[in-house]
């Protein structure tokens, strides 16, 4: 069984409610992402910016044998991949974070302040936690963020996937963004 076919089977199983399929799926996706990312960083397109949608789409188009998938439509497929992406990234972030804490090195404040960012693993984990908190309060908003952030879907695509109007998606997005931003700030403050 080739990897492409394997993924298709696993995705179908996951969609039908088989959570163990996801466990088998993630290392495959992970490896593929790694390969793509490496090519984006070091390869012939080393200087082109890496776009989320491209990455996601490329990963899945390579993994999934589209001919054999009974996806109702492309949007559904993208929504599915957004969720998978979120799982993969959070998983990756957790494993990386564990590595780093084991390193026991001294922290420097300069990086964070001057270079505009912090370890992305901490970001992803915090965002995932905040999204879970948001889902408990308003599931749709959480899904809007998942689709738009992790799936790289446009407002219209998100609207189709969730079967609501684009205006609703936009309002959800704006509010959820502000809310999450605040949650993340609070989290950071607590950690400090």
């Amino acid at each position: 069984m080739g990897p492409t076919h394997e993924v298709t089977v696993l995705l179908r199983a996951w969609r039908q409610g088989d959570e163990t399929a996801l466990d088998a799926l993630m290392p495959l996706v992970h490896d593929e992402l790694r390969r793509i990312a490496r090519r984006c960083l070091y390869g012939e397109h080393a200087n082109s910016s890496v776009q989320a949608t491209e990455l996601v789409n490329e990963a899945y188009l390579r993994l999934v044998d589209v001919q054999h998938v009974d996806w109702q439509n492309r949007t559904h497929f993208l929504a599915m991949s957004a969720r998978l992406m979120r799982r993969v990234l959070v998983d990756l972030a957790r494993s990386r974070g564990a590595d780093k804490r084991g390193g026991g090195a001294v922290r420097v404040t300069f990086d964070e302040a001057a270079l505009g960012g912090v370890a992305p693993d901490a970001d992803v984990i915090r965002l995932d936690d905040a999204l879970q908190a948001l889902a408990a309060l308003d599931d749709r908003k959480s899904r809007v963020v998942e689709l738009r952030f992790f799936g790289g879907l446009t407002v219209d695509e998100t609207a189709v996937a969730l079967q609501v109007s684009s205006k609703t998606v936009l309002r959800d997005w704006e509010f959820a963004r502000a809310w999450l931003q605040q949650e993340l700030t609070r989290e950071a403050g607590r950690d400090a």
Binding site: A37, T109, E112, A114, R171, L184, A192
Partner: protein, 656 residues
Amino acid sequence: MTPERLREIEMLFHEARERTPAERDAFLARACAHDSTLRREVESLLAEPPVGMIDAPLGALVAELVAPPVPRLAPGSSVGPYRIERLLAVGGMGEVYRARDTILGRGVAIKILPRHFTADPERLARFEREARMLAALNHPNIGAIYGLEAAAGGVRALVLELVEGETVADRIQRGPMPVTDALTIACQIADALDAAHEKGIIHRDLKPANIKVTPGGVVKVLDLGLAKAATGELQSPMVTEGGTQEGSILGTAAYMSPEQARGQAVDKRTDIWAFGCVLYEMLTRHLAFQGETVSDTIVASLEREPDWAALPATTPPMVARLLQRCLEKDPKRRLRDIADARAELDDALSGKAPAMGLGHPAVGAAQSRWGRWSAIVLIALASALAGWAVRRLNPAPDNPLSNATFTRLTNFEGDEAQAALSPDGKFAAFLSDRDGPLDVWLTQVGSGGFLNLTRKSHMPTVRPTRNIGFSGLSWLTGRLKWCGPPMARGWCITPTPRETRCSSRIVPASAPNRFLSIRLWEDTTIIRHGLPMVDGFTLHAAFKTRGKWTCGGLQPTAGNRNVSLITTRMWVSRHRLTIVTSFTSRRIMRARAHGCGRSIQTAERRAVSRTEPSSTCRLPAAPTIVVLWRRWPIQLRACGPCRFWITLRRMETRNR
């Protein structure tokens, strides 16, 4: 929080957003009349910074997460010409290494930029542009950026000056700081900021953790301007990354100016605020604005006054006043220019201020003696200059320092003295005692390489009383014989043929028919390509008096004892730097000291401590003037040896 509550907040959030900011307050006051918590929640959501992690492209994040982590660089490995020695520190996303520049043989700090940062070409390009600008900023109190290095595997590294010593934050932690120490450090911070502000560069993230004090007591301000380089024009580092910074967030918020906290445009007055915060903390060991959370801290800086009673009793009153002016919430009412802070601190340190009187207990006896001495000389100098300037206001001089870029030429351990430029502006020779007794050193401007001409050579040991200069012949052509093995970096030194009156010749091994002749001059001889000098007047400085530039020099009583002050005016005409000298006797100097305005004194004082042209020359082909500057350590209190700098100033054609 319940789903109902969230819906309530959301409804108000959207309704408020549809209104203009002016209407918003009234709307929220009405809608949340009975629920102040609700209003706060909505308001804080409305005020959230517009850009954050969620808006960043996922691709960069994915790339960073999926890509294998940048491997730690092993000692002995190389990044460009830099050989890694050891890991200094690890940040959340990058490592700082101590490395050695294998070409220049000096220690550097190498900072590996995070992958998600280098993966975004636009961001990287902007960072490179900024870094280039910051690299041009050379000041002894600013940690220099040497360059941006691209290494194998897409790794980008920032090459920084290696600064030994502890940070001011560490120093504050260690224990109470004497007021004099705090003021001395503050002086140097102000000096660094002044130099940056003059070039239009704002630090934006000044805090004790960003300031280091070397074991020799020299203050180095680090990461100057990098905040902007990394995040762009409009974003303050803290607000943008508010949600994502670990640990440093509280540290940064405490030094953030009110306008920065509000996300408004910032200018140099933001640095003045942070400077006030740092000085306050050095004096009191407490943050000027403190809160348990980030928001509390920001509210404190927006609304509360620092605890002025916490200042130690020995704080000079003028310093307390200065702090109040630095920590004015309204930038319009804040101290305008960091140079004013510098001048005030000088006065406080030298004990010159009327409020303090001479010999204030906080200031050491030796320092006040220096202070008095310097005050007398400077008042005299200022008055003489002022009087002289009134007599000779024409022609209006250009500022010879505008558009000039200063590049540090030397940074040897020990003392450096007596530099001279070659007539073509391509070489500089100077004396240094780095390798023992004073030697004559030669450097090619821009090469970064140095050649010790007198070490282990046939040339006599140099006495410090000698001046050094190049012969007017510059590059001579002709045949010559090799003498001895080549010296460092492809140069060798040869005996001079009798027909030229040079002491020595320096010959590049690669082009044996071209050589540079060099000559040591006896004491009090005029340096041929230097500024006009009379009777051994050797020190020169540029002054700004009432917006006009001029320069002058002091000679401690030597030679003609009646003439102790020389003033020199310089201006730039087409392709030429003109210098006029005049004298005043010591008696006149004293007489004039009485009617001297204070603003002029401080202006002159700043200038004295700064730079002095040591040698200058004009390049024949291009309309460019090269000036070799001697940079004296600030003030008369010893802060380290002097260093030489070079500037290339492109001349503007005036009659366009």
